[in-house]
């Protein structure tokens, strides 16, 4: 695309998004903490704020080990998946695996990111998490989960007071809508009014912003436009994240 040549300072990846930077700062904080400080962190926020996207980028940037927890996992599954993600052999028992994980984490210095950590809020899993933390001699562990994660964790004091940083994920702002627009539809020129409209209609939730940018893209494609201005706003089918109300006469 020749007319895109002037856009030389394009955003290349998700790094400038705020939640990505916040999680990066959290990881650095626990990695380079002072002696004697606890080594776990908690990054929590509402669904769709881009926590997992942030986790992915920071996994790449720090060489971390990222595991997304599933609700049906048993303790054995969890340690197996962590071993698998670290690329180390799975132990014969859960205890063996915990030792292997602890050794690998402490020696390699890789942070462990546990996504969907609210699922871990059961007695057995919390004990296991504590074991992993202790056998890794306090290697950085970041729990990423939904908004109520800190309250849920409060029930397990042993884990709760080992958390150094509590960082809430932030809603998107106009600057981030601009970045996402550049990432998701780099071929479109979208005016500031439209971006503001996107932010409002999406209630500042990153996932909905992306959906609405997609709607703009669809609209631009069918109308053959490369520039979206305030005049186009009424014609775009916005996703406002509400269930449709029931129709009359049914």
């Amino acid at each position: 695309m020749l007319d895109g040549m002037e856009k030389i300072n394009l955003v290349k990846n998700v790094a400038p998004l705020r939640n990505v930077m916040l999680l990066g700062a959290v990881i650095r904080q626990v990695q380079y903490r002072d002696e004697g400080m606890p080594g776990m962190a908690c990054f929590h926020g509402f669904s769709g704020y881009g926590k997992s996207q942030a986790a992915l980028y920071n996994t790449q940037a720090t060489g971390a080990c990222w595991v997304e927890i599933k609700s049906v996992w048993t303790r054995k599954h969890l340690v197996e998946k962590i071993c698998h993600a670290l690329g180390i052999p799975v132990g014969r028992t859960v205890a063996d695996s915990v030792e292997n994980i602890g050794e690998e984490l402490s020696k390699s210095g890789r942070p462990l990111l546990l996504d969907e950590a609210h699922i871990l809020c059961t007695d057995g899993m919390m004990k296991l998490l504590h074991d992993i933390y202790e056998s890794s001699l306090g290697s950085p562990i970041v729990l990423i989960g939904e908004e109520m994660l800190p309250q849920s964790l409060a029930r397990w004091e042993r884990v709760h007071n080992r958390i150094l940083v509590w960082e809430p994920a932030q809603p998107a702002d106009l600057r981030e809508v601009g970045i996402l627009a550049q990432l998701k539809c780099p071929e479109l020129q979208i005016s500031e009014e439209v971006l503001t409209k996107v932010l409002v209609e999406s209630q500042a939730v990153a996932r909905r912003i992306v959906t609405n940018l997609h709607q703009i893209k669809d609209y631009a494609r069918t109308e053959g436009k490369a520039e979206i201005t305030a005049a186009d706003v009424p014609h775009i089918r916005w996703q406002i994240g509400k269930a449709p109300s029931p129709r009359g006469g049914m």
Binding site: K12, N13, V14, A15, S52, Q53, A55, L56, Y57, T59, Q60, A61, W66, H84, A85, L86, G87, I88, P89, E103, E104, K107, S108, G109, L183, E187, R221
Partner: protein
């Protein structure tokens, strides 16, 4: 022409014999006294290869050479243990960066699960050339790692979306020159069909 009995150069990844990983495990068994002979015997790797790797590790700060009396073989001591995975170091001790791009694309595939090639580039922390991201998707698709969710439609300006259907492990599948994909997680080899 090299004689047929002794092939030249490095063997393909799927036919490789013991390498860094095996040498690393062998030297970790005796961290206080590492000798070329012991590592070569434990792994079957040639002595000169072992010596080269030990020297590289020393330059990288992982080992420390213990001076030996004249005429005696030298030995090394492990001073920095980085865990299970062998450090990938060049002769001067710097880290090997080869394979970094595919490693990041693969990690992004595992993290995103559903993606197009642009999202893979955006989820990476290093610059990934567009052609590389596209090509890697194409070859993994041919080898059966991906499923097409949305077909590309150049007229509508739409790029293909894929889903990862074979998340085999943390190490990125390698595209080999012999038109096949080698999976270092399982050791399996998949032919990249379709005349790519």
């Amino acid at each position: 022409m090299a004689p047929a009995s002794k092939p030249m150069g490095r063997r393909p990844a799927d036919k490789a014999s013991a390498g860094r990983q095996e040498m690393w495990h062998a030297l970790k068994r005796t961290p206080e006294e590492i000798t070329v002979t012991a590592v070569a015997e434990a792994t079957g790797v040639h002595r000169s290869t072992v010596l080269r790797y030990l020297n590289a590790l020393t330059a990288g700060g992982y080992l420390e050479a213990i001076p030996a009396p004249a005429g005696m073989p030298g030995s090394w001591r492990l001073i920095r243990d980085v865990g299970y995975h062998a450090p990938r170091v060049r002769a001067d001790g710097s880290a090997v960066t080869q394979g970094e791009i595919t490693a990041q694309i693969w990690q992004a595939m595992i993290g995103l699960k559903r993606f197009d090639f642009r999202e893979l580039m955006q989820g990476a922390s290093i610059d990934i050339p567009e052609a590389t991201a596209k090509d890697y998707c194409k070859r993994l698709l041919a080898a059966g790692y991906l499923r097409v969710l949305v077909k590309a439609d150049p007229h509508a300006g739409r790029i293909a979306r894929y889903q990862l259907i074979r998340p085999s492990g943390p190490a990125a599948p390698q595209i080999q020159r012999v038109r096949q994909v080698y999976d270092p997680n399982t050791g399996a080899v998949y032919p990249a069909e379709g005349g790519l």
